[in-house]
Protein backbone atom coordinates (compact mmCIF):
# COMPACT_ATOMS: atom_id res chain seq x y z
CA UNK A 1 0.00 0.00 0.00
CA UNK A 2 1.86 3.04 -1.21
CA UNK A 3 1.21 6.37 0.44
CA UNK A 4 -0.21 4.92 3.64
CA UNK A 5 -0.47 7.45 6.45
CA UNK A 6 -2.24 5.66 9.28
CA UNK A 7 -0.98 2.17 8.54
CA UNK A 8 2.46 3.20 7.26
CA UNK A 9 4.28 1.37 10.06
CA UNK A 10 1.84 -1.46 10.63
CA UNK A 11 4.31 -4.11 9.53
CA UNK A 12 7.12 -2.94 11.83
CA UNK A 13 7.65 -5.75 14.35
CA UNK A 14 6.69 -4.67 17.85
CA UNK A 15 5.06 -1.39 16.75
CA UNK A 16 2.39 -1.97 19.39
CA UNK A 17 5.02 -1.24 22.05
CA UNK A 18 5.90 2.29 23.05
CA UNK A 19 9.66 2.03 22.41
CA UNK A 20 9.36 0.84 18.82
CA UNK A 21 6.50 3.23 18.08
CA UNK A 22 8.53 6.12 19.47
CA UNK A 23 11.62 5.10 17.47
CA UNK A 24 9.50 5.42 14.32
CA UNK A 25 8.58 9.00 15.01
CA UNK A 26 5.71 8.28 17.37
CA UNK A 27 4.52 11.06 19.70
CA UNK A 28 6.47 13.70 17.76
CA UNK A 29 3.15 15.43 16.98
CA UNK A 30 2.54 15.80 20.73
CA UNK A 31 5.94 17.45 21.13
CA UNK A 32 5.29 19.72 18.16
CA UNK A 33 1.77 20.69 19.26
CA UNK A 34 2.49 21.27 22.94
CA UNK A 35 5.85 23.02 22.51
CA UNK A 36 5.38 25.03 19.33
CA UNK A 37 1.65 25.56 18.86
CA UNK A 38 -1.30 27.01 20.72
CA UNK A 39 -4.49 24.92 21.00
CA UNK A 40 -6.14 27.24 18.46
CA UNK A 41 -3.29 26.68 16.01
CA UNK A 42 -3.66 22.91 16.33
CA UNK A 43 -7.40 23.18 15.67
CA UNK A 44 -6.76 25.47 12.70
CA UNK A 45 -4.32 22.95 11.26
CA UNK A 46 -6.95 20.20 11.50
CA UNK A 47 -9.49 22.48 9.81
CA UNK A 48 -7.01 23.22 7.03
CA UNK A 49 -6.33 19.51 6.52
CA UNK A 50 -9.93 18.96 5.41
CA UNK A 51 -10.19 15.92 7.70
CA UNK A 52 -13.75 14.61 7.89
CA UNK A 53 -15.36 12.28 10.42
CA UNK A 54 -14.36 8.74 9.57
CA UNK A 55 -17.13 7.05 11.55
CA UNK A 56 -19.58 7.38 8.67
CA UNK A 57 -21.06 10.85 8.57
CA UNK A 58 -18.06 12.56 6.97
CA UNK A 59 -18.67 15.79 8.86
CA UNK A 60 -15.65 18.16 8.81
CA UNK A 61 -13.70 17.54 12.02
CA UNK A 62 -12.37 21.09 12.37
CA UNK A 63 -15.90 22.46 12.10
CA UNK A 64 -17.19 20.00 14.70
CA UNK A 65 -14.42 21.11 17.05
CA UNK A 66 -15.27 24.77 16.44
CA UNK A 67 -18.79 24.22 17.83
CA UNK A 68 -17.44 23.20 21.25
CA UNK A 69 -18.69 25.56 23.94
CA UNK A 70 -15.55 27.11 25.41
CA UNK A 71 -17.33 29.66 27.56
CA UNK A 72 -19.43 27.49 29.85
CA UNK A 73 -16.77 27.22 32.55
CA UNK A 74 -17.58 23.50 32.81
CA UNK A 75 -15.04 20.76 32.15
CA UNK A 76 -14.77 19.77 28.47
CA UNK A 77 -14.62 16.15 27.42
CA UNK A 78 -13.19 14.32 24.47
CA UNK A 79 -14.85 10.97 23.82
CA UNK A 80 -13.41 8.50 21.36
CA UNK A 81 -16.05 6.46 19.61
CA UNK A 82 -14.62 2.95 19.33
CA UNK A 83 -17.99 1.25 19.33
CA UNK A 84 -17.50 -0.03 15.75
CA UNK A 85 -20.70 -2.00 15.30
CA UNK A 86 -21.81 -1.21 11.77
CA UNK A 87 -21.93 -4.55 9.93
CA UNK A 88 -19.08 -4.76 7.43
CA UNK A 89 -16.89 -2.40 9.43
CA UNK A 90 -13.77 -3.64 11.20
CA UNK A 91 -11.20 -0.94 10.49
CA UNK A 92 -11.02 0.59 13.97
CA UNK A 93 -10.44 -2.82 15.49
CA UNK A 94 -7.55 -3.33 13.06
CA UNK A 95 -6.10 0.06 13.92
CA UNK A 96 -6.39 -0.34 17.69
CA UNK A 97 -5.09 -3.90 17.56
CA UNK A 98 -1.92 -3.02 15.68
CA UNK A 99 -1.34 0.67 16.40
CA UNK A 100 -2.82 1.55 19.79
CA UNK A 101 -0.27 4.33 20.30
CA UNK A 102 -1.34 6.06 17.07
CA UNK A 103 -4.78 6.49 18.62
CA UNK A 104 -3.42 7.65 21.99
CA UNK A 105 -1.14 10.15 20.23
CA UNK A 106 -4.06 11.58 18.25
CA UNK A 107 -6.16 11.77 21.40
CA UNK A 108 -3.50 13.76 23.25
CA UNK A 109 -3.11 16.31 20.45
CA UNK A 110 -6.88 16.59 19.97
CA UNK A 111 -7.56 16.99 23.69
CA UNK A 112 -4.91 19.73 23.77
CA UNK A 113 -6.67 21.56 20.93
CA UNK A 114 -10.04 21.22 22.68
CA UNK A 115 -8.89 21.98 26.20
CA UNK A 116 -10.13 18.64 27.50
CA UNK A 117 -8.51 17.14 30.59
CA UNK A 118 -10.30 13.79 30.37
CA UNK A 119 -10.90 11.46 27.46
CA UNK A 120 -12.93 8.26 27.52
CA UNK A 121 -12.46 5.67 24.82
CA UNK A 122 -15.86 3.99 24.52
CA UNK A 123 -15.13 0.61 22.98
CA UNK A 124 -17.64 -2.11 22.17
CA UNK A 125 -17.59 -4.83 24.82
CA UNK A 126 -16.98 -7.60 22.31
CA UNK A 127 -13.52 -6.08 21.78
CA UNK A 128 -12.63 -7.13 25.32
CA UNK A 129 -9.06 -8.06 24.37
CA UNK A 130 -8.48 -4.59 22.95
CA UNK A 131 -9.32 -3.04 26.32
CA UNK A 132 -6.13 -4.63 27.67
CA UNK A 133 -4.08 -3.53 24.64
CA UNK A 134 -5.27 0.08 24.93
CA UNK A 135 -4.87 0.18 28.71
CA UNK A 136 -1.31 -1.01 28.24
CA UNK A 137 -0.59 1.70 25.66
CA UNK A 138 -2.05 4.31 28.02
CA UNK A 139 0.14 3.03 30.85
CA UNK A 140 3.24 3.25 28.63
CA UNK A 141 2.35 6.79 27.53
CA UNK A 142 1.97 7.71 31.20
CA UNK A 143 5.36 6.25 32.07
CA UNK A 144 7.00 8.36 29.38
CA UNK A 145 5.36 11.61 30.34
CA UNK A 146 2.87 11.89 27.48
CA UNK A 147 -0.14 11.49 29.77
CA UNK A 148 -0.91 12.60 33.29
CA UNK A 149 -0.14 15.89 34.95
CA UNK A 150 1.77 18.67 33.20
CA UNK A 151 2.60 16.82 30.00
CA UNK A 152 6.09 17.70 28.69
CA UNK A 153 6.36 20.31 31.40
CA UNK A 154 3.45 22.36 30.05
CA UNK A 155 0.22 23.33 31.83
CA UNK A 156 -1.66 20.70 29.87
CA UNK A 157 -2.81 17.59 31.78
CA UNK A 158 -4.77 14.67 30.41
CA UNK A 159 -6.12 11.32 31.59
CA UNK A 160 -7.39 8.73 29.13
CA UNK A 161 -9.63 5.85 30.22
CA UNK A 162 -11.00 2.88 28.32
CA UNK A 163 -14.69 2.22 28.85
CA UNK A 164 -16.31 -0.94 27.47
CA UNK A 165 -19.85 -1.08 26.12
CA UNK A 166 -21.86 -4.27 26.43
CA UNK A 167 -23.39 -5.21 23.09
CA UNK A 168 -25.63 -2.54 21.60
CA UNK A 169 -25.23 -1.24 18.04
CA UNK A 170 -27.13 1.92 18.92
CA UNK A 171 -24.31 3.05 21.23
CA UNK A 172 -22.30 3.98 18.13
CA UNK A 173 -24.72 6.91 17.76
CA UNK A 174 -23.00 9.67 19.69
CA UNK A 175 -25.77 10.66 22.09
CA UNK A 176 -26.65 7.02 22.84
CA UNK A 177 -22.95 6.51 23.46
CA UNK A 178 -22.94 9.35 26.00
CA UNK A 179 -26.01 7.91 27.76
CA UNK A 180 -24.27 4.54 27.90
CA UNK A 181 -21.07 6.13 29.19
CA UNK A 182 -23.13 7.64 31.99
CA UNK A 183 -24.23 4.14 32.95
CA UNK A 184 -27.67 4.15 31.36
CA UNK A 185 -29.56 2.36 28.60
CA UNK A 186 -28.33 3.44 25.17
CA UNK A 187 -31.30 5.55 24.18
CA UNK A 188 -30.32 8.40 21.82
CA UNK A 189 -31.04 11.94 23.00
CA UNK A 190 -33.01 14.61 21.19
CA UNK A 191 -30.79 17.12 19.40
CA UNK A 192 -30.39 20.03 20.02
CA UNK A 193 -28.77 20.49 22.43
CA UNK A 194 -25.79 19.01 20.64
CA UNK A 195 -22.96 17.35 22.60
CA UNK A 196 -20.76 20.36 21.84
CA UNK A 197 -22.93 22.23 24.39
CA UNK A 198 -24.47 19.50 26.51
CA UNK A 199 -22.65 16.22 26.16
CA UNK A 200 -21.18 13.97 28.82
CA UNK A 201 -22.58 14.90 32.29
CA UNK A 202 -24.15 17.95 30.64
CA UNK A 203 -20.71 19.33 29.80
CA UNK A 204 -19.33 20.41 26.40
CA UNK A 205 -18.14 17.27 24.63
CA UNK A 206 -16.61 16.27 21.33
CA UNK A 207 -17.17 12.71 20.13
CA UNK A 208 -14.80 11.54 17.39
CA UNK A 209 -14.27 8.18 15.72
CA UNK A 210 -11.05 6.18 16.26
CA UNK A 211 -9.81 6.65 12.68
CA UNK A 212 -10.51 10.40 12.82
CA UNK A 213 -8.48 10.86 16.00
CA UNK A 214 -5.70 8.60 14.72
CA UNK A 215 -5.30 10.91 11.70
CA UNK A 216 -4.68 13.98 13.88
CA UNK A 217 -1.10 12.99 14.83
CA UNK A 218 0.06 12.58 11.21
CA UNK A 219 -1.78 15.80 10.23
CA UNK A 220 0.13 17.82 12.82
CA UNK A 221 3.37 16.13 11.78
CA UNK A 222 3.00 16.84 8.06
CA UNK A 223 0.91 20.02 8.31
CA UNK A 224 -2.71 20.54 7.34
CA UNK A 225 -1.92 21.78 3.83
CA UNK A 226 0.16 18.73 2.99
CA UNK A 227 -2.65 16.43 4.21
CA UNK A 228 -5.23 18.36 2.20
CA UNK A 229 -3.24 17.75 -0.98
CA UNK A 230 -3.66 13.99 -0.52
CA UNK A 231 -6.93 12.60 -1.81
CA UNK A 232 -9.37 14.35 -4.09
CA UNK A 233 -11.08 17.69 -3.54
CA UNK A 234 -13.22 17.76 -0.42
CA UNK A 235 -12.33 14.14 0.26
CA UNK A 236 -8.91 14.87 1.67
CA UNK A 237 -6.47 12.28 2.89
CA UNK A 238 -6.70 8.54 3.15
CA UNK A 239 -9.52 6.29 4.30
CA UNK A 240 -9.46 2.86 5.84
CA UNK A 241 -11.74 0.53 3.91
CA UNK A 242 -12.65 -2.79 5.49
CA UNK A 243 -13.54 -5.11 2.66
CA UNK A 244 -15.52 -8.30 3.16
CA UNK A 245 -18.07 -10.61 1.60
CA UNK A 246 -17.44 -12.53 -1.61
CA UNK A 247 -13.96 -11.25 -2.50
CA UNK A 248 -10.62 -12.99 -2.76
CA UNK A 249 -8.77 -10.89 -0.21
CA UNK A 250 -10.93 -9.56 2.63
CA UNK A 251 -9.12 -7.17 4.93
CA UNK A 252 -8.45 -3.58 5.89
CA UNK A 253 -6.91 -1.35 3.22
CA UNK A 254 -5.80 2.23 3.51
CA UNK A 255 -6.57 3.96 0.24
CA UNK A 256 -5.93 7.47 -0.97
CA UNK A 257 -9.36 8.92 -1.54
CA UNK A 258 -10.14 9.11 -5.22
CA UNK A 259 -9.23 5.50 -5.98
CA UNK A 260 -11.69 4.07 -8.53
CA UNK A 261 -14.03 1.45 -7.04
CA UNK A 262 -13.26 -0.85 -9.95
CA UNK A 263 -9.55 -0.83 -9.13
CA UNK A 264 -10.28 -1.38 -5.45
CA UNK A 265 -12.40 -4.46 -6.14
CA UNK A 266 -10.34 -6.07 -8.88
CA UNK A 267 -6.72 -5.06 -8.25
CA UNK A 268 -4.58 -7.74 -6.57
CA UNK A 269 -3.29 -4.95 -4.34
CA UNK A 270 -6.72 -4.66 -2.72
CA UNK A 271 -9.71 -7.03 -2.84
CA UNK A 272 -8.20 -9.20 -5.57
CA UNK A 273 -11.47 -9.68 -7.44
CA UNK A 274 -14.52 -11.76 -6.68
CA UNK A 275 -14.04 -15.00 -4.79
CA UNK A 276 -14.20 -18.30 -6.70
CA UNK A 277 -14.18 -16.52 -10.09
CA UNK A 278 -17.77 -15.41 -9.74
CA UNK A 279 -19.31 -12.24 -11.13
CA UNK A 280 -19.75 -9.08 -9.14
CA UNK A 281 -23.44 -8.63 -8.37
CA UNK A 282 -23.71 -5.78 -5.88
CA UNK A 283 -21.86 -3.79 -3.25
CA UNK A 284 -22.90 -2.20 0.05
CA UNK A 285 -19.90 0.12 0.23
CA UNK A 286 -20.15 2.06 3.49
CA UNK A 287 -21.40 -0.31 6.14
CA UNK A 288 -24.74 -2.12 6.10
CA UNK A 289 -26.80 1.09 6.46
CA UNK A 290 -25.93 2.64 3.11
CA UNK A 291 -27.86 1.90 -0.09
CA UNK A 292 -26.88 -1.24 -1.98
CA UNK A 293 -25.84 -0.68 -5.59
CA UNK A 294 -25.77 -3.20 -8.44
CA UNK A 295 -22.45 -3.87 -10.22
CA UNK A 296 -22.94 -1.35 -13.04
CA UNK A 297 -23.84 1.52 -10.71
CA UNK A 298 -21.09 0.86 -8.18
CA UNK A 299 -18.42 0.78 -10.90
CA UNK A 300 -19.81 3.75 -12.88
CA UNK A 301 -22.20 6.54 -11.97
CA UNK A 302 -25.46 6.90 -13.88
CA UNK A 303 -23.69 9.54 -15.99
CA UNK A 304 -21.11 6.99 -17.02
CA UNK A 305 -18.20 8.34 -15.01
CA UNK A 306 -15.95 6.07 -13.03
CA UNK A 307 -17.21 5.77 -9.44
CA UNK A 308 -14.44 6.82 -7.06
CA UNK A 309 -13.88 6.16 -3.38
CA UNK A 310 -14.66 9.71 -2.25
CA UNK A 311 -17.57 11.08 -0.24
CA UNK A 312 -18.81 12.99 -3.31
CA UNK A 313 -18.47 10.35 -5.99
CA UNK A 314 -20.11 7.63 -3.88
CA UNK A 315 -23.08 9.93 -3.27
CA UNK A 316 -23.36 10.92 -6.94
CA UNK A 317 -26.94 10.20 -8.03
CA UNK A 318 -28.28 10.58 -4.48
CA UNK A 319 -30.71 7.91 -3.34
CA UNK A 320 -31.79 7.06 -6.87
CA UNK A 321 -28.51 5.81 -8.29
CA UNK A 322 -25.95 6.66 -5.62
CA UNK A 323 -24.91 5.47 -2.19
CA UNK A 324 -22.46 6.64 0.50
CA UNK A 325 -18.84 6.17 1.51
CA UNK A 326 -20.08 5.82 5.10
CA UNK A 327 -17.76 4.01 7.49
CA UNK A 328 -15.88 2.26 4.70
CA UNK A 329 -17.42 -1.12 5.53
CA UNK A 330 -17.30 -2.50 1.99
CA UNK A 331 -19.55 -5.57 1.60
CA UNK A 332 -19.35 -7.33 -1.77
CA UNK A 333 -22.03 -9.69 -3.08
CA UNK A 334 -21.38 -12.11 -5.94
CA UNK A 335 -23.84 -13.82 -8.29
CA UNK A 336 -24.14 -16.59 -5.69
CA UNK A 337 -25.37 -14.24 -2.96
CA UNK A 338 -29.08 -13.53 -2.63
CA UNK A 339 -30.04 -9.89 -2.25
CA UNK A 340 -33.42 -10.72 -0.69
CA UNK A 341 -31.83 -12.99 1.90
CA UNK A 342 -29.15 -10.42 2.68
CA UNK A 343 -31.76 -7.68 3.05
CA UNK A 344 -33.83 -9.88 5.38
CA UNK A 345 -30.69 -10.66 7.38
CA UNK A 346 -29.74 -7.00 7.76
CA UNK A 347 -33.30 -6.01 8.62
CA UNK A 348 -33.32 -8.62 11.36
CA UNK A 349 -30.17 -6.92 12.64
CA UNK A 350 -31.86 -3.50 12.78
CA UNK A 351 -34.97 -4.96 14.39
CA UNK A 352 -32.75 -6.48 17.07
CA UNK A 353 -30.74 -3.29 17.56
CA UNK A 354 -33.58 -0.75 17.56
CA UNK A 355 -33.56 0.76 21.05
CA UNK A 356 -37.36 0.91 21.02
CA UNK A 357 -37.77 4.58 21.87
CA UNK A 358 -39.44 5.67 18.62
CA UNK A 359 -42.48 3.77 17.36
CA UNK A 360 -41.71 4.11 13.62
CA UNK A 361 -38.35 2.39 14.12
CA UNK A 362 -39.41 -0.16 16.75
CA UNK A 363 -42.54 -1.25 14.88
CA UNK A 364 -41.28 -0.57 11.36
CA UNK A 365 -38.14 -2.68 11.61
CA UNK A 366 -40.20 -5.55 13.05
CA UNK A 367 -42.76 -5.36 10.22
CA UNK A 368 -40.10 -5.13 7.54
CA UNK A 369 -38.41 -8.19 8.96
CA UNK A 370 -41.68 -10.13 9.05
CA UNK A 371 -42.46 -9.30 5.42
CA UNK A 372 -38.91 -10.09 4.28
CA UNK A 373 -39.07 -13.36 6.19
CA UNK A 374 -42.16 -14.20 4.15
CA UNK A 375 -40.22 -13.60 0.92
CA UNK A 376 -37.33 -15.74 2.08
CA UNK A 377 -39.64 -18.58 3.04
CA UNK A 378 -41.77 -18.73 -0.08
CA UNK A 379 -44.83 -16.94 1.30
CA UNK A 380 -44.34 -13.52 -0.29
CA UNK A 381 -47.03 -11.77 -2.31
CA UNK A 382 -46.57 -9.26 -5.13
CA UNK A 383 -48.25 -6.57 -3.06
CA UNK A 384 -45.65 -7.14 -0.33
CA UNK A 385 -42.97 -5.42 -2.40
CA UNK A 386 -44.78 -2.09 -2.29
CA UNK A 387 -45.82 -2.71 1.30
CA UNK A 388 -42.14 -3.03 2.23
CA UNK A 389 -41.22 0.14 0.40
CA UNK A 390 -44.08 1.96 2.15
CA UNK A 391 -43.03 0.81 5.62
CA UNK A 392 -39.44 1.85 4.89
CA UNK A 393 -40.65 5.31 3.79
CA UNK A 394 -42.66 5.71 6.98
CA UNK A 395 -39.61 5.08 9.19
CA UNK A 396 -37.31 7.47 7.35
CA UNK A 397 -37.14 10.92 8.94
CA UNK A 398 -39.55 10.03 11.74
CA UNK A 399 -37.11 8.96 14.43
CA UNK A 400 -34.86 10.65 17.00
CA UNK A 401 -31.67 9.11 15.65
CA UNK A 402 -30.43 7.87 12.26
CA UNK A 403 -31.04 4.18 13.04
CA UNK A 404 -34.38 4.67 11.33
CA UNK A 405 -32.73 5.66 8.06
CA UNK A 406 -30.06 3.03 8.56
CA UNK A 407 -32.78 0.37 8.60
CA UNK A 408 -34.90 1.89 5.84
CA UNK A 409 -32.25 2.59 3.20
CA UNK A 410 -31.03 -0.99 2.70
CA UNK A 411 -34.62 -2.13 2.12
CA UNK A 412 -35.61 0.77 -0.12
CA UNK A 413 -32.46 0.47 -2.25
CA UNK A 414 -32.72 -3.32 -2.52
CA UNK A 415 -36.25 -2.96 -3.91
CA UNK A 416 -35.21 -0.10 -6.19
CA UNK A 417 -32.32 -1.96 -7.79
CA UNK A 418 -33.29 -5.61 -7.37
CA UNK A 419 -37.07 -5.65 -7.71
CA UNK A 420 -36.79 -8.58 -10.11
CA UNK A 421 -35.13 -10.70 -7.47
CA UNK A 422 -38.00 -10.03 -5.07
CA UNK A 423 -40.49 -10.98 -7.80
CA UNK A 424 -38.59 -14.17 -8.55
CA UNK A 425 -38.84 -15.11 -4.89
CA UNK A 426 -42.62 -14.95 -5.17
CA UNK A 427 -42.92 -16.86 -8.42
CA UNK A 428 -40.49 -19.63 -7.46
Amino acid sequence: MGGAILLANIDVPGIREYGIYRAHGGYSSVEKALREMTPAQVAAEVTRSGLRGRGGAGFPTGLKWSFLDRKSGKPRYLVCNADESEPGTFKDRHLMHHLPHLLIEGIIVSAYALGAATCYIYIRGEFKYLVGILENAIREAHQHGFLGKRILGTDFSLEVYVHPGAGAYICGEETALLESLEGKRGNPRMKPPFPAFKGLYGCPTVVNNVETLAAVGPIIRMGGDAYARIGKGKSAGTKLISACGSISKPGVYEIEMGLPVEEFIFSPEYCGGIANDRYLKAVIPGGSSVPILPADLILHTARGEKRLLTYESMAEGDMETGTMLGSGGFIVLSEDDCVVRNTWNLTRFYRHESCGQCSPCREGTAWMEKVLYRFEHGQGKMSDIDLLARVARNIEGNTICPLGEAAAWPVASAIRHFRKEFEEHIIH
Partner: protein, 189 residues
Protein backbone atom coordinates in the same frame (compact mmCIF):
# COMPACT_ATOMS: atom_id res chain seq x y z
CA UNK B 1 -37.30 -10.44 31.93
CA UNK B 2 -35.81 -9.98 35.37
CA UNK B 3 -35.64 -13.32 37.14
CA UNK B 4 -37.13 -13.62 40.59
CA UNK B 5 -34.93 -12.98 43.57
CA UNK B 6 -32.34 -15.68 43.90
CA UNK B 7 -30.03 -16.60 46.73
CA UNK B 8 -26.60 -18.06 46.25
CA UNK B 9 -27.05 -21.81 46.74
CA UNK B 10 -24.28 -22.10 49.33
CA UNK B 11 -25.70 -19.22 51.34
CA UNK B 12 -22.46 -17.21 51.11
CA UNK B 13 -22.79 -13.44 50.78
CA UNK B 14 -22.16 -12.17 47.27
CA UNK B 15 -18.97 -10.10 47.10
CA UNK B 16 -15.84 -9.62 44.98
CA UNK B 17 -12.56 -11.11 46.13
CA UNK B 18 -10.40 -8.39 47.79
CA UNK B 19 -8.02 -7.94 44.83
CA UNK B 20 -10.95 -7.68 42.40
CA UNK B 21 -12.74 -5.24 44.67
CA UNK B 22 -9.62 -3.10 44.71
CA UNK B 23 -9.63 -3.08 40.88
CA UNK B 24 -13.34 -2.22 40.85
CA UNK B 25 -12.76 0.71 43.21
CA UNK B 26 -10.04 2.03 40.93
CA UNK B 27 -12.39 1.79 37.94
CA UNK B 28 -15.12 3.67 39.82
CA UNK B 29 -12.57 6.40 40.63
CA UNK B 30 -12.07 7.07 36.90
CA UNK B 31 -15.34 8.98 36.76
CA UNK B 32 -15.98 12.40 38.32
CA UNK B 33 -17.34 12.79 41.82
CA UNK B 34 -21.06 12.11 41.80
CA UNK B 35 -20.91 10.20 38.49
CA UNK B 36 -20.04 6.77 39.90
CA UNK B 37 -22.94 5.31 37.95
CA UNK B 38 -20.74 5.66 34.87
CA UNK B 39 -18.78 2.63 36.05
CA UNK B 40 -21.86 0.44 35.71
CA UNK B 41 -21.03 -1.33 32.44
CA UNK B 42 -17.38 -2.10 33.27
CA UNK B 43 -18.33 -3.29 36.76
CA UNK B 44 -21.21 -5.43 35.49
CA UNK B 45 -18.81 -7.19 33.10
CA UNK B 46 -16.55 -8.03 36.02
CA UNK B 47 -19.48 -9.02 38.24
CA UNK B 48 -20.93 -11.36 35.64
CA UNK B 49 -17.59 -13.05 35.18
CA UNK B 50 -16.55 -13.27 38.81
CA UNK B 51 -19.90 -13.89 40.49
CA UNK B 52 -21.53 -16.83 38.83
CA UNK B 53 -21.41 -16.29 35.07
CA UNK B 54 -24.67 -14.35 34.90
CA UNK B 55 -26.33 -11.41 36.60
CA UNK B 56 -28.54 -12.84 39.32
CA UNK B 57 -30.66 -10.26 41.13
CA UNK B 58 -28.42 -10.52 44.20
CA UNK B 59 -25.38 -9.76 42.05
CA UNK B 60 -27.08 -6.71 40.53
CA UNK B 61 -28.11 -5.52 43.99
CA UNK B 62 -24.51 -5.88 45.15
CA UNK B 63 -23.27 -3.81 42.18
CA UNK B 64 -25.92 -1.17 42.97
CA UNK B 65 -24.63 -0.94 46.53
CA UNK B 66 -21.02 -0.55 45.32
CA UNK B 67 -21.97 2.33 43.02
CA UNK B 68 -24.42 3.91 45.43
CA UNK B 69 -27.35 3.70 43.00
CA UNK B 70 -30.81 2.13 43.12
CA UNK B 71 -31.10 -1.55 42.14
CA UNK B 72 -33.63 -0.62 39.42
CA UNK B 73 -30.92 1.47 37.72
CA UNK B 74 -28.87 -1.70 37.39
CA UNK B 75 -31.79 -3.88 36.24
CA UNK B 76 -32.80 -1.50 33.47
CA UNK B 77 -29.26 -1.44 32.13
CA UNK B 78 -28.66 -5.19 32.48
CA UNK B 79 -31.81 -5.88 30.44
CA UNK B 80 -30.76 -3.52 27.63
CA UNK B 81 -27.33 -4.84 26.67
CA UNK B 82 -26.95 -8.20 24.95
CA UNK B 83 -23.65 -9.11 26.62
CA UNK B 84 -25.32 -9.35 30.01
CA UNK B 85 -26.98 -12.67 30.81
CA UNK B 86 -29.95 -12.80 33.14
CA UNK B 87 -30.09 -16.57 33.32
CA UNK B 88 -27.55 -19.17 34.26
CA UNK B 89 -25.23 -20.08 31.39
CA UNK B 90 -22.82 -22.89 30.68
CA UNK B 91 -19.13 -22.60 31.50
CA UNK B 92 -18.50 -21.57 27.91
CA UNK B 93 -20.88 -19.25 26.12
CA UNK B 94 -20.53 -19.77 22.37
CA UNK B 95 -21.83 -16.74 20.50
CA UNK B 96 -22.13 -17.20 16.75
CA UNK B 97 -22.35 -14.14 14.50
CA UNK B 98 -25.39 -14.28 12.24
CA UNK B 99 -25.20 -10.89 10.52
CA UNK B 100 -24.77 -10.12 6.77
CA UNK B 101 -21.07 -10.62 5.98
CA UNK B 102 -20.71 -13.68 8.23
CA UNK B 103 -23.86 -15.10 6.71
CA UNK B 104 -22.40 -14.60 3.21
CA UNK B 105 -19.21 -16.44 4.18
CA UNK B 106 -20.93 -19.46 5.73
CA UNK B 107 -22.05 -18.48 9.23
CA UNK B 108 -25.28 -20.42 8.89
CA UNK B 109 -23.39 -23.65 8.25
CA UNK B 110 -21.31 -23.03 11.35
CA UNK B 111 -24.40 -22.54 13.47
CA UNK B 112 -26.03 -25.66 11.99
CA UNK B 113 -22.90 -27.66 12.77
CA UNK B 114 -22.92 -26.48 16.38
CA UNK B 115 -26.62 -27.24 16.77
CA UNK B 116 -26.03 -30.75 15.48
CA UNK B 117 -22.83 -31.43 17.43
CA UNK B 118 -23.98 -30.01 20.76
CA UNK B 119 -27.56 -31.23 20.21
CA UNK B 120 -29.05 -28.01 21.55
CA UNK B 121 -30.80 -25.01 19.99
CA UNK B 122 -29.57 -21.41 20.27
CA UNK B 123 -30.42 -20.13 23.73
CA UNK B 124 -29.99 -23.54 25.34
CA UNK B 125 -27.25 -25.07 27.50
CA UNK B 126 -25.90 -28.60 27.20
CA UNK B 127 -27.07 -30.95 30.01
CA UNK B 128 -23.50 -31.20 31.36
CA UNK B 129 -23.55 -27.42 31.90
CA UNK B 130 -20.51 -26.91 29.72
CA UNK B 131 -21.80 -25.03 26.67
CA UNK B 132 -24.42 -22.38 26.05
CA UNK B 133 -25.14 -21.65 22.39
CA UNK B 134 -26.23 -18.18 21.30
CA UNK B 135 -26.78 -16.33 18.04
CA UNK B 136 -25.49 -12.76 18.14
CA UNK B 137 -25.37 -9.79 15.78
CA UNK B 138 -22.25 -8.44 14.05
CA UNK B 139 -19.07 -8.94 16.09
CA UNK B 140 -16.93 -6.55 14.01
CA UNK B 141 -14.90 -9.32 12.45
CA UNK B 142 -16.43 -9.33 8.98
CA UNK B 143 -13.17 -9.85 7.08
CA UNK B 144 -12.42 -13.09 8.90
CA UNK B 145 -15.86 -14.66 8.92
CA UNK B 146 -17.52 -16.86 9.79
CA UNK B 147 -16.77 -15.93 13.35
CA UNK B 148 -17.83 -16.71 16.90
CA UNK B 149 -16.77 -15.76 20.38
CA UNK B 150 -16.33 -18.00 23.39
CA UNK B 151 -16.53 -15.97 26.59
CA UNK B 152 -15.72 -12.86 24.54
CA UNK B 153 -12.71 -14.33 22.79
CA UNK B 154 -12.67 -14.39 18.98
CA UNK B 155 -12.45 -17.54 16.87
CA UNK B 156 -12.30 -16.65 13.18
CA UNK B 157 -12.38 -18.09 9.65
CA UNK B 158 -14.31 -21.06 10.99
CA UNK B 159 -14.90 -24.42 9.38
CA UNK B 160 -16.78 -27.42 10.83
CA UNK B 161 -13.40 -29.08 11.47
CA UNK B 162 -12.16 -26.05 13.38
CA UNK B 163 -15.34 -26.11 15.45
CA UNK B 164 -14.77 -29.75 16.39
CA UNK B 165 -11.22 -28.98 17.48
CA UNK B 166 -12.38 -25.93 19.43
CA UNK B 167 -15.01 -27.92 21.35
CA UNK B 168 -12.41 -30.53 22.18
CA UNK B 169 -10.02 -27.88 23.48
CA UNK B 170 -12.75 -26.33 25.58
CA UNK B 171 -13.69 -29.69 27.10
CA UNK B 172 -10.04 -30.25 27.97
CA UNK B 173 -9.81 -26.77 29.44
CA UNK B 174 -12.87 -27.39 31.60
CA UNK B 175 -11.33 -30.64 32.79
CA UNK B 176 -8.18 -28.78 33.84
CA UNK B 177 -10.31 -25.97 35.25
CA UNK B 178 -8.64 -23.27 33.19
CA UNK B 179 -10.10 -19.98 32.02
CA UNK B 180 -10.89 -19.51 28.34
CA UNK B 181 -9.71 -15.91 28.17
CA UNK B 182 -8.11 -13.16 30.20
CA UNK B 183 -10.61 -11.86 32.73
CA UNK B 184 -12.30 -8.49 32.53
CA UNK B 185 -10.59 -7.36 35.73
CA UNK B 186 -7.19 -8.18 34.24
CA UNK B 187 -7.78 -5.89 31.24
CA UNK B 188 -7.42 -2.76 33.37
CA UNK B 189 -4.20 -1.23 34.63
Amino acid sequence: MIPHKQYSPDGKPIAFAPEVLEKVRRIIARYPEGQQKSALLPVLHIAQEELGGYLAVDVMDYVASLLGIQPIEVYEVATFYSMFYLEKTGTYVIEVCRTGPCSITGGEKILAHLIETLDIQPGQTTPDGLFTLKEVECLGSCGTGPVLQVNNRFHEKLTPEKIDRLLEELREMAYKNRQESTSWAEQYS
